[in-house]
Symmetry: C2
């Protein structure tokens, strides 16, 4: 397939350019430990997930939302007898997450450096505005990107808004990310192109079974696989 008509390359950020989800997994494990006297891990895990889903529209994505949902979960698990020192520990978990360093994934910087010679690159990420901008700054990658789009969600309409702002049709847009649900399906639905690069851990919410049959869809092992796809 010829991909010479691709003008803009979109990139998810968390777990595509740098690691992120592992910090959530680690914080969850610490959170379960904090409540170990009150309920088994499986119950806390399910309550946390249910609480996050109930709060998703209200709080959106990101670490602050996660901390609020952990606190609410802890209140539920302890039947509102939550000791203050545990509330404190939950806030501290969030602060530690916000202070984490940004570690680039394999071959990310080299790949972006090459692609920027031939294409416009944009970051398309959902989550907390301040936190995403902070990570982008820490990553040192901002210089490769023409535009940064921080979206409240990654539904089809959110991509439509972004493409309109970029003044480009979906047929000229190629998105790369680690989430089939957020980075691949909505873009294919609009007639664009997408590559999936899996990360070793995926939030259950983002984890969809895929059986995608589309000539516009590609699978990669690392971000650098994009070089071959785009340039062949």
């Amino acid at each position: 397939m010829q991909l010479e008509h691709i003008k803009i390359l979109g990139f998810d950020a968390d777990d595509t350019l740098w690691n992120n989800e592992t910090f959530f997994r680690e914080a969850e494990a610490e959170f379960y430990n904090l409540l170990t006297d009150f309920a088994p891990k499986s119950v806390i895990e399910k309550t946390l997930f249910d609480t996050e889903m109930q709060n998703l529209e209200r709080y959106g994505y990101g670490i602050k939302s996660f901390v609020l949902s952990m606190t609410e979960t802890a209140l539920n698990i302890t039947k509102q007898e939550l000791p203050g020192h545990i509330t404190h520990e939950i806030l501290e978990l969030g602060k530690a997450m916000l202070a984490k360093p940004v570690k680039l994934l394999h071959e990310v910087e080299e790949t972006l450096g090459k692609l920027t010679e031939t294409h416009e690159l944009v970051v398309a990420t959902k989550g907390d505005l301040l936190d995403q901008q902070r990570k982008l700054r820490k990553s040192g990658l901002a210089k490769y990107f023409h535009h940064i789009e921080i979206m409240p969600d990654k539904q089809i309409t959110d991509y439509q808004t972004m493409l309109a702002r970029l003044n480009i049709s979906a047929q000229n847009f190629f998105m790369t990310g680690n989430s089939i649900k957020s980075d691949v399906l909505p873009v294919l639905e609009l007639g664009g192109y997408a590559m999936h690069v899996p990360y070793h851990t995926t939030w259950v919410y983002e984890d969809v079974h895929d059986d995608i049959q589309s000539p516009n869809f590609f699978r990669g092992k690392t971000l650098s696989d994009l070089l071959e796809i785009i340039e062949r």
Copy 2:
């Protein structure tokens, strides 16, 4: 003064287009009541403000950040003996704030309707991405705006980024808002124009003493005063 060279009109959102700060004042009053057995109001008030300032860079603006800082304040005030039911009430205060209706301020819709015939209008607001987009949708005002810029902060550099994205120089930009600190001073500093429309209550953090001597600066009582300034 002739203002025919103004091409884009920028508008702050919270307390410029719709009411917002009153919800924070009401939530603070309820928060002080929750802790009335532990400390006098003045102590809680100061601790909350100090906590918000310490967390500003970490959490940014918005309701979720406010809830996290209220929780931290309550832990400090109670020396970590914070009862679970109060933690619950704090979370509920935040949820209630997020569910508040958006009430437009005086003559806002009529004014925007007239200005949109002659100028491009943009919203330039700081705060939580999801919450600001939700309010804009609820307000019914989105149709008047060419561009929505939700900024992590409103420093000079944030305005520079926005003006670059809008492809316009500050000399052709006129900003209107209720905060001297966030909406007026940085824009004047860049060589742009600004109108201050005070709101009846201002967060202490935004409250700066002003003694502005600039031909590019205007004072309004309501948003509609902009019509006369722009069209004269």
